[in-house]
């Protein structure tokens, strides 16, 4: 039961983009078409799950026992950057079709603050309070958060596709009108705020 609540909370109530403001760059950058938005979303799901698994393990077995948690930022970003590189190389060899679909998005994910943000967040505050810090919980949370990312970016891409056909005042063209649309979408997500 607590897992179900955790997943609903991560997908809808604490949506990573519209409530927590992480990963706004890809949200604005690759959301002009639903298909590319979906590709980016799946790539984030893939990398964030792996990254959180690895960084949580590092936190538990290296940083805390050696008492060097002040190195967290440097270590996590290095691990994430090399992980993304590794995923890219492995995908290229093992599954060229998947690489073709996700390839262009992978390098972008290194500087996606969503991945590092969630990796740091789960170490600061246990996902399910009564369990304490656990690698399994953190990884599940990362999966749920990425599903929330996919939901938000695909919805937003659908709205932006419609927006292409509309006449917009000159200064509002491009990003500003997209931001206003995102604001209205965020308002809709506020409706979930007392769900869990």
């Amino acid at each position: 039961m607590e897992y179900i609540l955790m997943i609903i909370g991560a997908v809808l109530v604490n949506n990573i983009i519209l409530v927590q403001f992480l990963g706004i760059c890809p949200f604005l950058g690759v959301s002009s078409k639903v298909s590319t938005a979906l590709g980016m979303g799946v790539a984030v799901l893939f990398v964030m799950t792996l990254a959180t698994l690895v960084t949580s393990a590092l936190q538990m077995y290296v940083l805390v026992p050696l008492n060097i948690t002040y190195l967290q930022t440097i270590l996590f970003i290095l691990v994430i950057a090399s992980l993304v590189q590794m995923v890219e190389i492995v995908l290229k060899k093992m599954s060229p079709s998947l690489y073709k679909a996700l390839g262009v998005f992978l390098p972008l994910i290194t500087t996606n603050c969503a991945v590092l943000g969630i990796a740091i967040k789960v170490t600061e505050q246990p996902v399910i309070a009564s369990h304490g810090f656990s690698i399994l919980d953190s990884t599940l949370y990362a999966v749920a958060i990425s599903i929330g990312f996919i939901v938000a970016i695909v919805l937003f891409a659908g709205l932006r596709e419609q927006l292409e056909l509309v006449e917009v005042p000159k200064g509002m063209k491009g990003v500003p009108i997209a931001l206003l649309t995102a604001g209205i979408l965020a308002m809709a997500f506020m409706g979930f705020s007392n769900l869990v």
């Binding site: 706004i24 002040y70 990003v175």
Partner: protein, 206 residues
């Protein structure tokens, strides 16, 4: 490009968050109050300045192929420094900015300036560039935060002047961030366009 231009281009003409649309996450997240915006702006400016200096000094030493990881390590070092300093001396600010201080590492402005400017230009120019971009980022944060704080919390830099019954809470919450950011971006772009058009018309007349 003159030295003054290197410094001032980041203020408005190439403002990182309003024109180049970089560093959007902190722009949306920390602009609930002017104090937070100033703190975030100062922290980012420090990291930009220091990483620009170091990268510009090391630009001939760092091999081209692994430059991005090198840049990230340098940036992460300065971010850790400022993170620990803020935690030590300004615990209230550290609590309200939260995870967004360590996230300066992945702020595209910092890496963007390292890649586009500091790795190609002399140290002194990189100092000016980092300072200009940092100040530009701070200006945009404060602009957005001022609107959000006045409308949403009825205060400015913590000084309340509108009774809480009349606050529009929406502007402190998530949707307000997107909406205010959108409107300010549109306004600044329109003003810059108008100024540019006027300058061109003047040149055509002369």
């Amino acid at each position: 490009m003159s030295k003054l231009k290197i410094l001032t281009k980041g203020f408005f003409k190439e403002n990182p968050s309003l024109i180049l649309v970089l560093g959007t996450c902190p722009t949306l997240a920390v602009t609930t109050s002017v104090n937070n915006a100033l703190g975030m702006g100062a922290a980012t400016t420090f990291v930009l300045l220091m990483s620009n200096i170091l990268i510009s000094m090391l630009k001939n030493v760092i091999p081209d192929k692994i430059r991005i990881p090198c840049f990230i390590v340098i940036i992460a070092t300065f971010v850790s420094i400022i993170d620990l300093v803020i935690q030590g001396f300004l615990p209230a600010l550290s609590a309200s900015l939260g995870v967004f201080i360590p996230l300066i590492v992945v702020n595209c402005i910092v890496l963007g300036r390292a890649e586009a400017f500091a790795s190609k230009n002399p140290v002194w120019d990189s100092v000016l560039d980092g300072l200009g971009m940092g100040v530009g980022f701070t200006i945009s944060l404060v602009l957005i935060a001022a609107v959000r704080e006045v409308l949403g919390a009825g205060s400015f830099m913590g000084l309340t002047f509108i009774p809480s019954n009349y606050n529009m809470l929406l502007f402190v919450l998530a949707p307000g961030a997107f909406i205010v950011y959108g409107f300010i971006m549109a306004a600044v772009r329109q003003i810059l366009n108008n100024v540019e058009a006027k300058r061109k018309a003047k040149q055509a007349n002369a």
